[in-house]
Point group: C2
Chain length 323, copies 2
């Protein structure tokens, strides 16, 4: 096991840093879900986290970890989604200037939320090249520090605090699970799991239509998904990050996948049966539990329900169309 | 203060009876709501209660309070909504036969839920006379015991356990609030408040389009709403019950009202900002807090968020149509 700049102890340090700022979100169970999967599933409700998702943990930990000088210059990121909102809120709370580079095609409601937290919004074309170019320009011209959505050690350590709280409150578990996009949450969850126990298993869950993390884990090198099409908009990243991969690839046992109809059905289950407003991305682990792709029979399982920032009208239309 | 068959101590007895059965639901706060109303609002999330609403407390307490003989004969009620589901679940858990008389015009999804819990469903015409006739016939022919949705002492005492838990966990409060339909919850909340403190104020909230409880409280006698039209389908009862009125009319200080647009906006607020799946009926107290009809500036307020059984598709259409 070669060394990375952060380890299981980094999650505890992040937790201490975040304690005055992050919500200690509740852990819930569903009798119906437990009965359907014949296991015991404890769900960490990060949809109730500040800014509406676990992303606040990583973004806030990253900004809190900056030098005074770097804080004075400000931070930049690229995101049209939860990380952008999370970093914008972190900056607002700490008086740090935040610039978010977003594709001009991003949903107006998300861009409005980013600006609502007081961040400066820079629109780019919806391509990787345009995004990189704008971020590089912001860094070069304004001396901003990049807070990458997932390929960042402080962000990874911060994300791990969700699983750490879950295990402390509702463990011990046989398995902890979370969704996988860029894999910052999966890497942080891996560290938190190892901090708690040498044997607890760590599983990821991702859309079958964007299964690059599963392929990467199996191959031992990072594979990509070309332009993945999935309702789970938080998990559309084309590849996991090198930094989180260097952590989770040594710890994660399995990455289960869910089809689009399974993700939609699980989203409906979380809303109708559990009464939680959750993003389709967050329902992916539940989808793999319900389908059996994540075999939890007889196991005690902790799951991170990662966020609740949805465009109600759009999701409503989707649910109305699906049986 | 003349005597009623139940008093503040009855809520504690109900709580003891319900402890092995009911969920101890979480209490949450919203920074945004607190900031908007300039008060401190603690929300008891009964949308996470078994059967999806606080109604389980009253129905379960009523069935647990029956003699063995009465349990063996079974129970009957009339409801197309949450009380029907709650009583059906109570009967399933205790092995007691449940008959629910529902108008044939009730939403198929609610009738399916009642039957899903194993209750016998008897369809009637959507009139008061037809409902009464069918219930009377069930009682006469099968010796069933009526468990009325709100005009029942055991049901009232059971509903009070929600406020009792809220006050114990998050009090002391200046005010406790809940929505008002038939007023079983308001009466139970009144008893729980008096059990906790002689001075805590108790407020109700109802749609302006169905403000019979407000008029009844002000007049000191029960007034009716003729065929109220409101999105808050759980609060469409035409009059409060005599039994709950005999309790709450001596204790409640104020019943605030909300317009239909205010109720819809509050429902959206609870979904989008608080990430809770809640019925429009449950959002009525929040609506009166946001509008100022319930003036909570500087106060510590406990609110019962009463349930989360919604037809997602119908509600989604409503939210999509409203700005």
């Amino acid at each position: 096991m070669h060394e990375t700049p952060i380890g299981p102890e980094s999650v505890a340090a992040a937790a201490q840093r975040l304690a005055p700022w992050a919500n200690r979100t509740p852990v819930m169970q569903s009798r119906t879900l437990n009965s359907l999967c014949d296991g015991t599933v404890a769900i960490k409700c990060e949809n109730f986290q500040r800014s509406g998702s676990f992303k606040f943990r990583g973004a806030m930990n990253a900004v809190l970890s900056l030098s005074d000088e770097a804080r004075a210059r400000g931070v930049v990121t690229h995101s049209s989604g939860n990380h952008g909102q999370a970093l914008a809120l972190a900056g607002k709370l700490l008086g740090v200037g935040v610039t978010v580079v977003s594709p001009r095609t991003a949903p107006a409601i998300k861009l409005a939320a980013i600006e609502g937290y007081g961040a400066r919004l820079v629109l780019c074309e919806p391509t990787f090249a345009s995004r990189e170019e704008h971020v590089s320009r912001e860094i070069a011209h304004h001396g901003l520090t990049l807070v990458h959505p997932f390929n960042d050690w402080s962000v990874i350590a911060g994300q791990g605090t969700a699983a750490a709280e879950l295990i402390a409150e509702a463990g011990p578990f046989d398995v902890v699970m979370c969704p996988v996009g860029g894999s910052g949450l999966l890497a942080g969850t891996s560290l938190a799991a190892r901090a708690a126990s040498p044997t607890i298993r760590v599983w990821g869950a991702e859309p079958a239509a964007a299964d690059d993390a599963r392929r990467s884990l199996e191959a031992g090198v990072i594979h990509t998904s070309a332009d993945p099409v999935t309702i789970a908009d938080g998990l559309r990243s084309t590849a996991v990050g090198e930094r989180p991969f260097s952590i989770f690839s040594r710890i994660v046992e399995r990455i289960a996948t869910a089809t689009e109809p399974e993700i939609i059905a699980a989203t409906r289950f979380v809303w109708e049966r559990m009464k939680l407003v959750a993003e389709p991305s967050c329902a992916v682990p539940i989808a793999t539990i319900l389908s059996g792709a994540a075999p939890v029979k007889g196991l005690r399982v902790g799951v991170i329900l990662s966020g609740g920032n949805v465009d109600l009208s759009a999701l409503a239309r989707l649910l109305a169309e699906s049986p």
